[in-house]
């Protein structure tokens, strides 16, 4: 492996390196209508995490995303491995009564909850919609994480909507899931414009080019590693990052340092 740092060479050789853990800031769990997932349970997920030295996975269960009132599924799975698994509370704007209930119960689940998850393109209401307002205000006040599914050329969760919420809710740490996929330059602009906005890598490494752009134009401190686990595998994604990012310092920022800092800031390290 020419042109690789010693750290990258070691990851290639051993598959995992003790002093370079990986923090996965974007995952899911459970089965799914459109895809067969061999890795569905918390137990299997943790096995895959260990093989790649992934020390933290923050997820939202498919059941919380694709049906009404499913956040309890995330909590139940996360509590099997509370040190390794943390949860985003899914907010579905179509069911305000569920959001109200979930936010009222949020503090009781602070052992695993770290923030909120928005999947607006699927739930068909823009992230600026009133149906999300209470959740945004809640997360803003408590300085929580907000993992937002983002995509380019999209008016539910595209760059323009992120611009608006980033301005309105500076207390939130907003992770652009998939980094406004396709509109990479706009994602970089947002990450540079707002202190509280981060580029998240899920669905980015399966194409050469964007990661190199992020490193060059936004810097590795604004990039978070994520996989959509169990959609995408750890070693494939880690390999892709090694293919794109040459400097050891950048690799460490992306794999764990940025995530650890953010988790520290919300007292969840």
């Amino acid at each position: 492996m020419r042109n690789m740092s010693q750290l990258a060479k070691d990851i290639f050789k051993y598959g995992r390196v003790k002093d370079c853990p990986v923090y996965d800031m974007h995952g899911h769990m459970g089965s799914h209508y459109g895809i067969h997932f061999p890795t569905k349970s918390a137990e299997k997920t943790v096995k895959s995490m260990q093989a790649a030295n992934v020390q933290k996975l923050i997820f939202s269960h498919h059941g919380s995303l694709m049906m009404r009132d499913g956040n309890s599924l995330s909590l139940k799975e996360a509590r099997k491995f509370p040190g390794l698994l943390k949860v985003y509370c899914t907010i579905n704007p179509n069911f305000p009564e569920v959001t109200e209930k979930d936010l009222a119960a949020f503090d009781e689940a602070r052992d695993v909850y770290v923030g909120i998850k928005l999947l607006a393109a699927y739930h068909k209401k823009p992230i600026t919609d009133d149906g999300y307002k209470k959740a945004w205000e809640f997360a803003n006040k408590r300085k929580l994480f907000a993992l937002v599914h983002t995509w380019g050329d999209n008016n539910m969760n595209g760059p323009e909507q992120i611009d608006e919420v980033a301005r309105k809710y500076p207390g939130c740490k907003i992770f652009m899931g998939h980094s406004c996929h396709g509109e990479w330059d706009k994602a970089v602009l947002l990450a540079n414009k707002y202190k509280n906005v981060y580029l998240e890598l899920t669905a980015v490494p399966d194409e050469r080019g964007p990661m190199e752009k992020f490193i060059e134009k936004a810097g590795s401190k604004k990039i978070l590693f994520g996989t959509d686990m169990p959609w995408f595998s750890y070693h494939n994604y880690i390999g892709a990052v090694l293919g794109a990012v040459r400097k050891e310092e950048d690799l460490r920022n992306i794999f764990y340092l940025n995530a650890k800092k953010l988790l520290g800031e919300i007292g969840q390290l």
Binding site: G15, I35, P38, P205, R208, T227, S233, H235
Partner: protein
């Protein structure tokens, strides 16, 4: 054990919309392969897809220039139009180090069935020439593939560029029914656990390593294979052995 890699899915040239740091020539591709220690590759030229199979096939031969580490893959069109398949076709394949054939029926606007390719596919079966079917946009659809295999169950098919959304619900029935269907590992290795489950259910012999370069990172499918939860013997088979065996059986 040092694993040796044979990439079953890489192309030379760029798309008309551009691809990040692609390899303009065979020499550039070989340089990229050396960087990550990939020994051999089955290659085509993107002009075969984007521009014209007729011209792209020629461009491939020209840039490969007989290099022994590269194995060419030409793109087919219906034999009746005589654009690609003409007299001495197999002799031409031999002369130009072409060991496999691919086709993109949606993008190139033809049907993939016995009416179009009947006699020709019978010849491919006899000669054990692999047909590479890309599942990328413009390639084959799953419906096309299912009906093709019903007509030609003994055709050797390598399915490449599998979709970003997991495809086990499509591929497992094919692997179960047709023993000459193979999957390229590039995008498959992206899907958590699917690669391992495929090996467990159908055996390592049904997979061939591929990267999808230049669109995908070679390092991604390499790191995945090196640390996948299968035996070392199976890893070597997938990394290069299966592909080498398939190509060694080709009769031109």
């Amino acid at each position: 054990m040092k694993i040796k890699f044979f990439d079953a899915n890489a192309y030379i040239g760029t798309q008309m919309l551009g691809v990040y740091k692609s390899a303009a020539t065979a020499a550039e591709l070989l340089e990229k392969m050396d960087e990550v220690e990939i020994e051999k590759a089955l290659v085509y030229h993107m002009a075969q897809f984007d521009y014209s199979p007729e011209e792209g096939n020629k461009m491939l031969v020209e840039t490969m220039a007989g290099n022994k580490r590269l194995f060419g893959c030409w793109t087919l069109l219906p034999p009746q139009t005589e654009e690609v398949i003409a007299d001495n076709f197999f002799a031409q394949m031999k002369k130009n180090r072409i060991f496999a054939l691919n086709l993109f029926p949606v993008h190139h606007r033809f049907l993939l069935n016995g009416v179009v390719f009947g006699e020709f596919f019978k010849e491919l079966i006899k000669r054990k020439i692999p047909l590479v079917l890309s599942m990328r946009e413009g390639g084959a659809t799953w419906e096309m593939l299912y009906s093709l295999l019903k007509e030609f169950p003994n055709l050797t098919c390598i399915l490449t560029d599998l979709s970003i959304w997991g495809v086990d619900r499509y591929t497992f029935p094919l692997l179960e029914k047709y023993e000459k269907v193979y999957l390229e590992s590039g995008v498959l290795s992206l899907h958590e656990g699917s690669f391992e489950m495929t090996v467990k259910k159908f055996g390592a012999k049904r997979l061939v390593f591929g990267t999808g370069f230049p669109e995908k990172y070679q390092e991604a499918s390499m790191l995945h294979l090196l640390h996948s939860n299968i035996s070392e013997t199976d890893k070597q088979k997938i990394a290069a052995g299966n592909m080498e065996k398939l190509l060694s059986e080709v009769k031109l």
